[in-house]
C-alpha cells in the first residue's frame, strides 16, 4: 500500500480536466438536441417493433400511425333529439383545431356524388358476384336482372334501368352491402341500433397531425371532456361513447407524469434527508446532485443521439438510476467520512476505485443485457442507464478527490448496531447458516406459488371507464378492437391489388371452414382485372339484351366502353368513404391494403394461409405480442441463469470453491426471494419481472463486491451498503406505488430482491479476516 500517491499527480489533473471537457461537450450537445427532440408517450412505442412476416416496416408503421390518429364517437339521445344532439356534437368537434376530417352527417350532394361516381365508372367497378353471373354467356345475369325488375322488393325504377340496363351499379352496391357493416343510413347519418332499439349516431374524426405531443394530446382530451360535460347538461339523457388511441395514451402519460411528480419528489426528499442525517453536511448533497445531474445529462444526450427521442417511461424509470448512481458517491464519501483524517482524498479514492469500477461494470452489463429486449422503450432505458451510470461513476472518480477537501469527519452513525450485525455474521453460526436457510425456505415456498402469465392485456391498466366504453362501442358497431388483419402489399398499386384479388377466394374458403366470422375486402379491382371485366361485358351484353327482349322488356343500349378506375381516382372519390384507412401508398410507390378479419377462431391456420401467398402477411397483434412476451421471457431466463453461473464460476476461480460458493450465494438467494415475493403476493411472472431480476443481480453484486473489497474495511462497507440499500429502496421502492401495473411489478421484484441481497451480503466477508476498525 506504500505506492499509493498521497498527493494528486499530473495525470490525475489531466484526467479531471479531460472529464470536465467531456461534461461541457455533453452540456452543449444537450442544449442543441433537447429543443429539437420530442417526448414520446405512446404506449405502443414501449412494445416491440413487430416482426410481421416480410411486410415492409414503413408500411406497418404507416398503418399503425394512422390507426392511432383515429377517433370515433357514438351519440344517442331520446327519440327526437338524437339527431340534434349528434349535429351539435359534430359542430363542436369541427371547431376543435386539433381535429381534422370530422365527419358525421352526409349531405345530400355527397350522396349524389357517390351515385354519380359509381355510375360513371360502373364498367370498372364490377364485383365478384356480377363477374360470376357474366361468365358463360351472361344468361345468369339476364335472369338476375329479370328477377330484380319483377320484384317489388327490389324496386328497380325507370331511371335506373334506362341508364344502367345491365344493373351493374346495383350489383356492385349489393356486394358492398354484403360487407360486414352494421350501420344504417338514417336521414343522412350513419346510425346503428342497439338491442333496446335505441338509435346511435356515428361520427368520425382524425388527429390533425402525426406527431402529437403529450401536451397537445392532453389539451385535446381535456377539451373533449369539457365538451362532453356541456353535452350532458344540454341533453341529460343523452349518451356519448368515444374511442381513440389518444384517450388511452393520454391516460397513460398523465399517470406517468403523476408518478414522476409525486414519486419523484418523495424520492428526492427522502434521499436528501438520508444524506443529511448521515453526513451532517450540505456538501454531500451537492456532490450527490452533481454526479446524478451529470449522469442524467449523459444519459439524455446518448439516448437522444441513439434514438432521436425520449420515451416518457424512460424518464419515469430513470428515477431508479438516480438511486444507483448516488451509490457511488455515497461509497466514496463514506470512506472519506470515516478515514478523512488519516488518508488523503487520493488514498481513499485508490482504496475504492477498483471496487467502484467493478461495480459499475457489472451493473452496466446488467442494463445492457436489456438492449436485447425488443422493446424500444427498454432499449432507451438500457442506454440511458448504462451511459448515465458510467458518467456518474467517472464524475466520482475524476472530480471528487478535488471536491471533498474539508468534508467533516464523523464517527459512523449507528456504529454499534452495524458492528454488532457484522460481528454476529462472523461469530454466530445460527445467523450465518440460519438466515440463508430461512430465506431459502421463503424463496422455495413462494416460488411454488408462482405462475407465469404472458398475456399483454393484464399489463395494461387503463381505467375501467375507458375500457367499458370501448367494449360497448365495439359491440354496437361490430368493429372490434382486437386488430386482426391481413396485410397485402406490392411494389406498386396494381401489384397490391392483384395480390388482393388472389387472396380473396382463399378467404371465402377460410370463412366457410369457420376460421373466422367475417372480413372486409377493398372493393376495387386491378386495372388488368378491369380490362378482363370489360371484355367479359362486351361478350355477354348481346345475350343479356336478347333475353330481356324475349321477356318483353326493351331497354336502351348499354355503354360497354372501358371505364378504368385508378387507385388515386378511387381514393379521391366519395366511393372510398369508409375504406381509405385500409389503403396505404408509400412515396416510393410501394402500396399496401389491409383486410380486416373479425371473430378469429384459428389464428395459426390464417398465419399458414398468409405464408402460402406472395405479399401477404397475417397480423394478430395481441397474439403475437403474447408470443413475443413469452419468447423473450424464456430467453432472458436463460440469459439470467447463464449470468448467474458465470458469476459463480468467476467467484470460484478467484476465491476458491468454498469461498466462491459463499460469495455467490447472496445472488442466488436474492433472485429466488424476489421471485418468491411475486408468488406470495399472487402476482405473475412476466417479462417485466425478469427485467427487474437482471437489475437485482447487477445491483446485488455491488453489495457483495463492496464487502469483498480486500482494501476496504468491513464497517465502512457495511455503512456504504446500508446507505446504498436505503437509497435504492427509496427510489425503486417508490416504483411499487406506480399506477402502471408493469412498473409496479418491476418495483416489487426489485425491492424484495435488493433487500434480500443486502441482508445476505455479509456472507461475502472473508471469515478469517481481522476486523480492521
Amino acid at each position: 500500500m506504500k505506492s499509493e500517491p498521497v498527493l494528486p499527480q499530473r495525470s490525475e489533473k489531466t484526467v479531471a480536466l479531460l472529464w470536465l471537457a467531456v461534461c461541457l461537450a455533453l452540456a452543449v450537445a444537450l442544449a442543441v438536441l433537447l429543443p429539437r427532440s420530442q417526448l414520446n408517450s405512446s404506449v405502443l412505442a414501449l412494445l416491440p417493433q413487430q416482426n410481421l412476416g416480410q411486410a415492409p416496416a414503413e408500411i406497418q408503421h404507416g398503418f399503425m400511425q394512422r390507426l392511432d390518429r383515429q377517433l370515433v364517437w357514438l351519440v344517442s339521445a331520446n327519440d327526437q333529439e338524437g339527431e340534434a344532439a349528434a349535429a351539435w356534437w359534430q359542430a363542436q368537434l369541427h371547431a376543435l383545431p386539433m381535429l381534422k376530417q370530422v365527419s358525421g352527417e352526409l349531405k345530400d350532394d355527397q350522396m349524389q356524388r357517390w351515385g354519380a361516381y359509381a355510375f360513371q365508372h360502373r364498367n370498372g367497378l364490377i364485383d365478384a358476384a356480377t363477374r360470376a353471373r357474366l361468365q358463360n354467356g351472361g344468361g345468369a345475369q339476364a335472369d338476375w336482372i329479370l328477377a330484380q325488375l319483377f320484384s317489388a322488393f327490389a324496386g328497380v325504377g325507370s331511371k335506373e334501368i334506362g341508364n344502367d340496363p345491365l344493373l351493374l351499379v346495383r350489383g356492385a352496391q349489393l356486394a358492398l352491402q354484403q360487407n360486414d357493416n352494421k350501420m344504417l343510413l338514417h336521414n343522412g347519418w350513419l346510425t346503428v341500433n342497439d338491442a333496446q332499439q335505441r338509435r346511435w349516431y356515428f361520427l368520425h374524426g382524425e388527429l390533425a397531425s402525426n406527431a402529437f405531443s403529450i401536451k397537445e394530446s392532453h389539451q385535446l382530451v381535456t377539451a373533449l371532456n369539457q365538451l362532453e360535460l356541456q353535452f350532458k347538461t344540454r341533453w341529460p339523457d343523452a349518451q356519448l361513447l368515444t374511442r381513440g388511441t389518444v384517450l388511452f395514451s393520454d391516460d397513460a402519460s398523465q399517470r406517468a407524469q403523476h408518478d414522476v411528480e409525486t414519486l419523484g419528489s418523495v424520492t428526492l426528499a427522502g434521499l436528501l434527508l438520508l444524506v443529511w442525517l448521515v453526513f451532517r453536511s450540505l456538501r454531500p448533497l451537492a456532490l450527490c446532485a452533481l454526479s446524478v445531474a451529470i449522469g442524467a445529462m449523459a444519459g439524455t444526450v446518448l439516448t437522444l443521439l441513439c434514438f432521436g427521442e425520449l420515451h416518457l417511461t424512460t424518464l419515469v424509470m430513470s428515477l431508479s438510476i438516480v438511486g444507483i448512481s448516488a451509490d457511488y458517491t455515497l461509497y466514496y464519501l463514506t470512506e472519506r467520512m470515516v478515514h478523512g483524517e488519516d488518508a488523503t482524498p487520493w488514498q481513499s479514492l485508490h482504496k475504492v476505485r477498483g471496487t467502484l469500477l467493478l461495480a459499475l461494470g457489472t451493473t452496466a452489463i446488467a442494463w445492457l443485457l436489456m438492449l436485447l429486449a425488443p422493446f424500444p422503450g427498454l432499449r432507451q432505458l438500457a442506454v440511458f442507464a448504462a451511459s448515465g451510470l458510467s458518467a456518474s461513476c467517472l464524475t466520482v472518480i475524476c472530480f471528487y478527490p478535488w471536491l471533498v477537501r474539508g468534508l467533516p469527519v464523523r464517527p459512523i452513525p449507528a456504529m454499534v448496531w452495524l458492528a454488532r450485525w457484522l460481528a454476529a455474521w462472523r461469530r454466530n453460526n445460527w445467523l450465518k447458516r440460519g438466515l440463508p436457510a430461512l430465506v431459502a425456505i421463503y424463496a422455495i415456498s413462494g416460488m411454488l406459488q408462482l405462475h407465469v402469465d404472458d398475456d399483454i392485456a393484464h399489463l395494461q391498466s387503463a381505467p375501467a371507464k375507458l375500457l367499458a366504453q370501448d367494449r360497448q362501442l365495439a359491440q354496437l358497431t361490430g368493429q372490434q378492437a382486437d386488430q386482426t388483419w391481413f396485410v397485402v402489399w406490392g411494389d406498386d398499386e396494381q401489384q397490391a391489388l392483384q395480390r388482393l384479388s388472389a387472396l380473396t377466394p382463399t378467404l371465402q374458403q377460410a370463412q366457410q371452414q369457420g376460421w373466422f366470422a367475417h372480413y372486409r375486402v377493398l372493393p376495387l379491382s386491378s386495372l388488368a382485372q378491369q380490362q378482363q371485366d370489360v371484355a367479359l361485358l362486351q361478350q355477354a351484353a348481346p345475350t343479356i339484351l336478347e333475353r330481356l327482349k324475349q321477356a318483353g322488356i326493351t331497354v336502351a343500349k348499354a355503354d360497354l366502353s372501358a371505364m378504368p378506375v385508378t387507385v388515386g381516382d378511387w381514393l379521391a372519390s366519395p366511393l372510398s368513404e369508409g375504406w381509405r384507412l385500409l389503403w396505404l401508398s408509400l412515396p416510393d410507390g410501394r402500396s399496401s391494403v389491409l383486410v380486416p378479419i373479425g371473430g378469429v377462431k384459428n389464428s395459426a391456420a390464417l398465419q399458414q394461409l398468409a405464408s402460402q401467398q406472395a405479399g401477404v402477411s397475417w397480423v394478430d397483434r395481441k397474439a403475437s405480442y403474447d408470443e413475443l412476451f413469452r419468447f423473450w421471457r424464456t430467453l432472458l431466463s436463460g440469459l439470467l441463469a447463464l449470468a448467474l453461473l458465470l458469476i459463480t464460476a468467476s467467484y470460484m476461480l478467484r476465491l476458491g470453491v468454498k469461498a466462491g460458493m459463499r460469495s455467490a450465494l447472496p445472488s442466488w438467494l436474492s433472485l429466488a426471494a424476489a421471485l418468491a415475493t411475486l408468488g406470495w403476493i399472487g402476482a405473475s411472472l412476466n417479462l417485466f419481472a425478469l427485467l427487474a431480476l437482471i437489475l437485482v443481480l447487477g445491483i446485488g453484486i455491488n453489495y457483495t463486491l463492496f464487502f469483498s473489497n480486500p482494501r476496504g474495511t468491513p464497517l465502512t462497507s457495511m455503512l456504504a451498503v446500508t446507505l446504498a440499500m436505503m437509497t435504492t429502496l427509496l427510489t425503486l421502492g417508490m416504483l411499487v406505488f406506480s399506477s402502471t401495473a408493469a412498473i409496479s411489478g418491476f418495483g416489487t421484484v426489485l425491492c424484495s430482491g435488493i433487500f434480500c441481497a443486502f441482508l445476505l451480503a455479509p456472507l461475502a466477508l472473508a471469515p478469517g479476516k481481522r476486523k480492521q476498525r
Binding site: 335472369d143 338476375w144 319483377f150 325507370s158 334501368i161 352491402q177 318483353g552
Partner: protein, 203 residues
C-alpha cells in the same frame, strides 16, 4: 309556436281516426295466417308494356312473408325477422340478413309491415292518413317521413275491406307498382307442415 300547432293538429287527427285504425289493427291481429293469390303490375316509365307477374303469397304473423311468383318465370322470396332470401332456378339464392345488411333489410321489413298493416312500424316511418270508405271498406295513405324512404316513395296506399285487397306504391320517378290480392283465405289459422317447411332456414 307553429310547431306546437302542427303537433296539436297531428294528435287530433290521429285521435279522430284512431278508433278505426285500431279496429283494423285488431282485425289483422285476429288473422294470424293469410293466404292469397296476387297479381302484380309494375309500370315503369319508358317501357312499352307493364311487367305483370302472378303467383301466391302467404303471410304468417310468426314466420313472415312467403312470396311465390309463378309467371312469367318462377321466383321465390322469403322474408322473416332475420333474413330475406330471393331464389330463382339456376342461381345461388341471394340472402340478405339483418346482420349483413341492415339497410336493405330494414327496407324490406317495412314492406312486410305493409302487408300486415303493422301500425307501430308504419307510424314510425310514415304520416298516416286513414279513410273510411263505407261498406266496411277502408283506405290508408302513407307518406314517408324520413330518408331513405322519402327519396324512394312519394306515397303508398293500402286498400281493403275484411282483408287487405290492394297495395299501391308510387315512387319518386313516376313508376308505379300495384299489387292486388284475391281469393284471400285465413283458414286454417295455423301453418300446415308443408307451409312451415317453406320458412325453414335451409335455403
Amino acid at each position: 309556436m307553429i310547431r306546437t300547432l302542427c303537433l296539436l293538429l297531428l294528435v287530433m287527427c290521429a285521435n279522430a281516426s284512431a278508433v278505426t285504425l285500431e279496429q283494423l289493427q285488431q282485425r289483422f291481429a285476429s288473422q294470424p295466417v293469410i293466404r292469397a293469390n296476387f297479381v302484380q303490375v309494375r309500370t315503369i316509365e319508358g317501357m312499352a308494356q307493364p311487367l305483370v307477374s302472378r303467383g301466391q303469397l302467404l303471410i304468417a304473423q310468426q314466420q313472415g312473408l312467403w312470396w311465390q311468383q309463378v309467371t312469367p318465370f318462377p321466383l321465390m322470396l322469403i322474408l322473416d325477422d332475420k333474413r330475406m332470401v330471393q331464389s330463382m332456378s339456376g342461381q345461388p339464392p341471394q340472402v340478405i340478413t339483418a346482420e349483413s345488411n341492415p339497410q336493405m333489410f330494414q327496407f324490406n321489413h317495412l314492406l312486410r309491415a305493409l302487408f300486415q298493416a303493422d301500425e307501430k312500424v308504419l307510424r314510425e316511418n310514415f304520416e298516416l292518413d286513414f279513410h273510411d270508405r263505407g261498406n266496411n271498406r277502408w283506405q290508408l295513405g302513407l307518406t314517408p317521413k324520413a330518408a331513405p324512404l322519402n327519396r324512394i316513395f312519394s306515397r303508398i296506399d293500402l286498400q281493403g275491406d275484411a282483408f287487405l285487397n290492394r297495395i299501391t306504391l308510387d315512387d319518386k320517378q313516376g313508376d308505379k307498382t300495384e299489387i292486388t290480392l284475391s281469393d284471400t283465405r285465413t283458414e286454417p289459422t295455423q301453418l300446415t307442415d308443408e307451409e312451415r317447411a317453406r320458412f325453414a332456414p335451409a335455403q
